[in-house]
């Protein structure tokens, strides 16, 4: 049986331990902390996570290996369908030697029998060291954090927050542009129900971004979020006309108009397909303008764009792994 207290094992552990501490120790502020909203982060903490994410890239690619979270267990609780977020959390955990438990079919669980989320969380909390939660109702992650002893990471709660998506979006932007400061960013698509854009806009205000919000009137950014941005000194421009603003953009962040968020299918049909990014519209853009999308896309971005230098959305999806690795390391401490 492996004796984890033995000097030989400790030596082995220290040999595989990667340096997860930022030079000024900022990242460790997140040790044992919940990640519920991007508003919980300071600018320094975000930069620290992005720095650590950069160090994680060779590990995420499998070019280097480590098992710094060996012995830890991540509980993946997805109450809504997910491909990228769920898989990238699993990949991030496995790349660090962390085990993953999950429920693949919610209809087979006691949740379908009417168990409250609070009870489910208390139960899962006893089985793992960190909980990753996606849930259809807003505020679910905050509630889970209240009932869980272990840290909770919000992987999307309804139309609310999706902070880890925001972190990987920021990482992708910084990777593409070298810096986040003062970028001209155009957000286009469903800005009302799209949770990624709410969290992203919030975070970008910390970096002095100039935001342009492009959406049909019925899908514009909710007033309370715009007011919050304005209170933080960002004064976004609202428009429905993408053609008029694309030439100024450093980043074009496209979101899908989500059928599942519309209570009324007729309302969805009115706005579906309003914006479509193709090579024709990109002729107006700067040559180094970057197109991002949280994916999945339906028809917002034509496949012909994939092969242009503008396309960053698949790289963006990959970046979910190093960013979530950085987050898991910061939260779990990396040492047993």
């Amino acid at each position: 049986m492996l004796d984890v207290t033995s000097p030989a094992y400790q030596k082995y552990r220290s040999s595989i331990k990667i340096n997860i501490t930022h030079p000024d120790n900022r990242s460790m502020d997140l040790y044992d902390k919940d990640v519920v909203s991007i508003r919980d982060f300071t600018k320094d903490q975000i930069e620290s996570i992005l720095d650590l994410s950069q160090k994680m890239v060779p590990y995420a690619l499998g070019e280097k290996t480590n098992r710094v979270l060996d012995g830890k267990i991540l509980g993946n609780l997805f109450f809504e369908p997910s491909t990228r977020t769920k898989l990238s959390f699993e990949s991030a955990a496995y790349r660090l030697g962390c085990d993953v438990i999950d429920v693949s079919e919610m209809s087979m669980t006691s949740i379908s029998k009417g168990e409250t989320l609070a009870d489910t969380i208390k139960m899962v909390d006893a089985y793992c060291d960190v909980i990753v939660l996606r849930h259809p109702y807003e505020g679910a992650a905050r509630l889970a954090a209240k009932f869980s002893e272990n840290p909770v990471i919000n992987a999307g709660d309804g139309a609310g927050s999706h902070p880890t998506q925001t972190l990987l979006d920021l990482f992708t932007m910084r990777e593409a542009k070298g810096s986040l400061d003062g970028l001209n960013i155009v957000l286009v698509g469903d800005l009302k129900y799209g949770r990624t854009v709410h969290s992203l806009a919030d975070a970008l205000t910390m970096f002095g971004a100039k935001l342009t919000l492009v959406a049909p009137e019925s899908l514009q950014m909710p007033d309370d979020i715009v007011q919050h941005l304005e209170a933080k000194g960002c004064h976004p421009t609202k428009t429905a006309d993408l053609d008029g603003v694309i030439d100024q953009a450093d980043i074009l962040y496209v979101t899908r108009i989500q059928r599942e968020r519309f209570p009324d299918p007729a309302e969805y049909k009115k706005v579906a397909g309003t914006y479509r990014i193709d090579n024709a519209i990109l002729r107006e853009a700067k040559s180094d303008m970057v197109v991002m999308h949280p994916l999945p896309r339906v028809d917002e971005i034509a496949p012909e764009v994939d092969s242009t230098p503008h396309a960053r959305y698949f790289k963006q999806a990959f970046n979910g792994v190093p960013v979530r690795m950085a987050l898991l390391c910061s939260i779990l401490g990396g040492e047993i």
Partner: protein, 158 residues
Amino acid sequence: MTGNANIKEIMLPPIRNGTVIDHITCGQALNVMRILNVNENNIDSSISIGIHVSSEEMEWKDIVKIEDRELDAKTVDKIALIAPDATISIIRDFYVAEKYKVRLEDHVVGLAKCSNPNCITNRGEPVSPEFNVIGRHPPQLRCCYCDRMLTNISDNLL
């Protein structure tokens, strides 16, 4: 109390015992009545309501006087959510036995439900709705769970 204020007071009949809720934000008197949960079927004492009453301090205000009732702390806290400048006078044998201003705390718990139907606090979970007060004139509350602003406070009081 100034002489002018005395003149305003006598616009509503005095009460022997009970509570005077004064300096209610103009237009909120009927919502205060909802908080007091009184109607013709469940009270035997008299209630006087002054709506759009001239006020030196507020220009216009509402007043509610309720006989034979003193308010508990939770009721007063709810009134603060819709009328943050309201004053409560407890009347005993025609004299003001106690007078204080309602206090809107920075953080309120269990007084109102979230107006966002998709908020987890509206889904039968064992938690009380919680809000941070981010504005006071008029009161503006942000849900601590879903982060949305509470719209139409009076319709969402518990």
